[in-house]
């Protein structure tokens, strides 16, 4: 939905955005590892006004059986938004958008998870968006990585994610809902910092080749900030006082 005219000022003359942030600043991020009793691993994230809960089960038996693979384990991801998570009630049935996001998040996590260690099993990742405010797929991917680590599943790295974008001809970090609706471009990025691998990348909106490179660069730098908070969440649970 790029290019919509908005009366709102997305970027003022001092380089301040509609929610008071600077161009290279993320929203407030709070990540908690664990929290769910029955899931093998879980995480909760607040990313600005996004609130997302992730539960992980497995490795466990695959049902239906024909989905299982004798060479490797499989990863299954369901990204789902609650009917009350957005302005107008959302039909609870999975939309085409949710099905696509489930697929891109699955493919973003696969390079991180050592599925080959668990042939004939499945790891299920359930993502529930309780409140959405732009950038849910990045926040969900970030939390899903923490939940997988919390489940004790062997991983090569965690995937950290945040979007870069363009408003008022300026490249920005962490696109919020208003900026996504009225801005010029939105580029969600998922990145494994220890392996220098981009595992989620999408773009809508027009960028010059220079802006394209800058967006990738700004996004990767943002992912490194998010990565530190993921590690802190796990540290707090397993080595700190705030654990459960």
């Amino acid at each position: 939905m790029g290019g919509r005219d908005a009366t709102m000022v997305l970027l003022d003359e001092n380089g301040i955005r509609c929610d008071g942030r600077k161009v290279d600043e993320t929203r407030r991020i709070m990540i908690r590892a664990g929290g769910l009793k029955n899931a093998d691993g879980s995480a909760y994230i607040e990313f600005g006004d996004n609130k997302i809960l992730v539960g992980v089960f497995g490795p466990r038996d695959v049902h239906p059986k024909h989905m299982s693979n004798t060479d490797t384990g499989i990863l299954r991801v369901r990204y789902h938004m609650e009917p009350f998570s957005v302005g107008e009630r959302k039909n609870p049935a999975p939309s085409r958008r949710e099905i696509e996001i489930s697929k891109v998040i699955k493919e973003a996590l696969e390079p991180a998870v050592m599925l080959e260690k668990f042939p004939r099993t499945a790891v299920d990742v359930f993502i529930e968006v309780l409140q959405a405010d732009g950038g849910t797929r990045c926040a969900a991917l970030t939390a899903a990585s923490v939940a997988l680590a919390d489940a004790g599943i062997p991983m090569r790295d965690m995937v950290a994610a945040v979007a870069a974008g363009k408003v008022a001809d300026t490249v920005i970090l962490d696109v919020n809902n208003e900026e996504d609706q009225a801005g010029q471009a939105d580029m969600p990025i998922g990145y494994m910092p220890s392996l220098d691998k981009i595992t989620l990348l999408q773009l809508d909106g027009v960028l010059t080749p220079e802006e394209y490179k800058k967006c990738v660069d700004v996004g990767v730098k943002g992912c490194k900030i998010v990565y530190e908070l993921q590690k802190k969440a796990l540290n707090d649970k397993y080595f700190g006082n705030g654990g459960d």
Binding site: M187, L201, L207, Y212
Partner: protein
Amino acid sequence: MASVSVLDELKKAQILELLEQGKRVDGRALDEARELTIETNAIPKANGSARVRLGDTEVICGVKIQPDRPFPDTGDRGIFMCTAELLPLSHPTVETGPPQPPVIELARVTDRGIRESHMIDVSKLVILKDKSVVGVFADNVVVDQDGNLFDACSYAATAALLVAKTPKWDWVDEKPTLVEGEETPLPIETIPVSVTMGKIGNHIVVDPNGDEWASMDARVTITSDSNGNICALQKGGSDGFTQDEINQCGEISVKVGAKIREKLKAAQSGSQ
């Protein structure tokens, strides 16, 4: 995802071995797309259509243009929508029934590339503000498969839109009424070109064919517009790209896209 067949594994080893020597299974250069043939107006009952072959992948796109109600929040703009569907005759593995996630992704990525390029100026497709607008629907059907359905669908839809003629409607007696004999081309602003690249080992190949598609570790589809700007991207597959590779893919997509855009233009002028 279906488990990889033994044959695909063997082919992958061969494909990788060739790539180490800088070669591809079908003899193409790494940044060379397959031959693209475009037949426009293949379906005269559609307002615009194209039958596109990219190597052995074949797609037919028909554009239907008709009056529609606008979306509640965009009463000052017409509607553009692009879909994609795999026909059961296109491959032995295709089953009828609701679309699976890969097909939903195909349709959404094809739609997004064209939509985000602002190829069609939908503000010029209003019959009466907030009441009635023109809807442009580009429906792709895949009739034969040999990899890279993303680009084939994108080229088919773009070619069909380029040659489409839209009827004219006026608001008469509280309803849109066809004005006979007035047909014009759609308000085209730019020509988007999607370029899909596969990553096999550490090699990037443009327009993967079926065997390469089954062998690749990851893929990225990048759409650029007539000004050489990048307007949509989708990464897929179970591996990642380095930042350098993503920058390189951006450059390749603009360069290869420019050549393909000339073919789309030629198809457009050939139909007039």
